[in-house]
C-alpha cells in the first residue's frame, strides 16, 4: 500500500448500498481497575455496554438542576438560537445543546469528580466534553427517539476516529417503564451496524428533530436484539446512566402526564480527538460537536 492522503477508516458507514454488521475493533474499557467503579460493575459495563447507577444525586442539587431547566425552557431568546431544538410537529422544546458552557449548575455537573472519574476509568486517559445537552420529553405527546448508535453519527458526521467515548445521562425526573425511558440493546456495543444513504448537507438540522439518516435497518436491529436483549434504564430522579458510544439505544414516546428530563453529556478521550468527518459534506457546528479538546480538570 502506498502512502496517499486517504485516511484509514476503521468504521466506514453511509458509503455502501447495503447495511452490514461487523465486529467492534476497539476495547470497551480502555482504562484499568483504578477508578470509582468496582470490578463487578466494570464487568457489567463491558458485557452490556451500559450501567445504571441510582442515587447519584438528589435533594437541593437535583432541585437546582430542574430550576435551571425551567429557566432555560422559559428563555425566549434562547428558543431562537440554534442550540434550542424543537419537536418536529410543534414548537415544544425537545433539547438544548451546549449546556456545559453555561456557568453554573450544568458546568458543575459535567465537572463532577465522580462522573469525570468514571469517564477517565472507562476511557483510560484525560477526557474532554464532546457534546452536552438537556433533553425534555414532555408528557402526553412526547415523541420517540428512534434507535441509533451515537458513534455511527459521531464518526461519519463529526470525524471521531475510534470507539473511545462514553455518554452520561443524569435523570432529572423519575423514569418509569411507561414514560419513555432510555432503551438499550445490551451487547449491541460489540457490533458496528453500518447505515445506508449518504449524509445530506446540514443533515443535523433535520436529524436532531427526527433522525432518518444514520439509523439501523429493520433486519440489522432485529439481529442485534437476537444477539443481545432489550433493557430499559428506569429509576428515580437523580439516577446516572453511563452508556458506551456504540450502544444501540432509543426511546418510545410518552403519553403519560409524567414528563421525562435528563442532562446528557459525552466524554471523549483526548487521544480520540475529532478529525474531518468520515462521511459528510462538512463538520457539524461547535455546539453539537466540540473541537475544544481541553481536558476536563481533575
Amino acid at each position: 500500500m502506498t502512502t496517499t492522503d486517504v485516511r484509514a477508516d476503521l468504521y466506514p458507514s453511509r458509503v455502501a448500498d447495503r447495511p452490514t454488521i461487523t465486529e467492534r475493533l476497539d476495547p470497551v474499557v480502555h482504562g484499568d481497575s483504578s477508578g470509582p467503579l468496582d470490578p463487578e460493575v466494570l464487568a457489567g459495563y463491558e458485557d452490556d455496554g451500559f450501567v445504571v447507577l441510582p442515587g447519584f444525586l438528589g435533594g437541593e442539587r437535583l432541585a437546582a438542576l430542574n430550576d435551571e431547566v425551567d429557566r432555560l425552557a422559559a428563555d425566549e431568546a434562547l428558543a431562537e438560537k440554534p442550540q434550542a431544538i424543537v419537536e418536529p410537529d410543534s414548537r415544544a422544546l425537545r433539547s438544548i445543546f451546549e449546556v456545559h458552557r453555561l456557568e453554573g449548575v450544568f458546568r458543575d455537573l459535567v465537572h463532577d469528580p465522580y462522573l469525570v472519574g468514571v469517564a477517565r476509568q472507562l476511557l483510560g486517559s484525560d477526557v474532554y466534553v464532546h457534546q452536552s445537552r438537556v433533553n425534555l420529553k414532555p408528557g402526553f405527546r412526547g415523541r420517540e427517539f428512534y434507535w441509533h448508535s451515537d458513534f455511527e453519527t459521531w464518526h461519519t458526521e463529526d470525524g471521531m476516529p475510534r470507539m473511545r467515548a462514553v455518554s452520561c445521562s443524569v435523570t432529572l425526573t423519575d423514569n418509569h417503564p411507561w414514560n419513555g425511558p432510555l432503551l438499550l440493546v445490551a451487547g449491541s456495543h460489540g457490533w458496528y451496524v453500518t447505515c445506508v444513504g449518504a449524509t445530506p448537507d446540514r443533515n443535523f438540522e433535520q436529524s436532531l428533530r427526527r433522525q432518518e439518516i444514520g439509523v439501523p435497518d429493520d433486519e440489522s436491529l432485529s439481529e442485534l436484539v437476537r444477539r443481545g436483549s432489550i433493557r430499559h434504564a428506569v429509576g428515580p430522579a437523580g439516577t446516572v446512566v453511563f452508556f458506551e458510544c456504540n450502544a444501540m439505544h432509543g426511546s418510545n414516546g410518552n403519553i403519560t402526564p409524567q414528563p421525562r428530563r435528563n442532562v446528557f453529556f459525552v466524554y471523549n478521550s483526548v487521544e480520540n480527538a475529532l478529525e474531518a468527518p468520515f462521511a459528510a459534506p462538512g463538520p457539524r457546528p461547535e455546539y453539537i460537536a466540540s473541537r475544544d479538546f481541553t481536558p476536563v480538570p481533575v
Copy 2:
C-alpha cells in the same frame, strides 16, 4: 318535572364546553362471589378496575390464534373491508373488527367458558358480545393509542346506558414494558371524565385510526393519575387482562422489533343493551357496536 321524551342521561359528555370529573354511579362488580375469580382477585378488580391473569392459554391454542391472525393479515379482500383499520401514516394493518363472527378459533375464544364465566361474575347477568377485534401493533414504528375511557365512547356514540360492561384482552405475543403494553390508570374507573367537542358525523372513520374526540383533556388526565396510579399490563403471550369499561387506558408506541398483538372483545350485560347514541348524529356500524343482544351460551 314534566314527562318528556328526553331520556335521562346519567353520563352526559361531549355536550358542555368544559370538562368535568364526576363520580361513577354504577357498581363495579355487579355479580356476587360465585364465579371463577376468587374474592381476593375480585376485590383487586373492584379497587383497580382491572386484573391481569397470566397463563390463561398457551401451546397449540396460542399458535392457532397467531396463525389465524397471520392468515387474516395476508387476506387482501379483507383489507378492503371497513372491518380492517389501517395505521394513520401508512397502509399497515392496525385492527380487524368483528372477529367473533368468524367461524373458528376467535369465536371459540369469545365463547370460552372461563372468560364468559368471569364476565358473568363481573356483570351479574347473561352477557353478549358488544365488540371484538384483533389489534396488531407492529414493531419498529408501532403507533400509540392515546388515553380514553371506552365507556365514554360507547355511551355517547353507541348508546350504552350504564357502566356494566367489561373488556377482555388476550395477548398473542409477549408484552414487555418496552413494546407498547396496555397502560391503565388504576382507580380511574371510579370517575367519569366528560369530554369536550361534539361528535362529528361518521367520527369512527377517523377515531379508530387516531382518536381526537372522546379523549380526556390534559388536566383531567393528570388529576386521575394523582388520584390513582399508572400501571402496565405486561406478561407472556397467553395472558388475559379484564378491564372495566370506564377504566382510563392507552398505550405508547413501539420502536422495538417485538410486535404486539392481542384479541380484544367486550362483554356487555344483556340488561345494558344499546339504545340510541347519547351524543352522536347516528349509531356506529354493527361491526363496531353490535346490536345483536343474544346471550353468549353457557
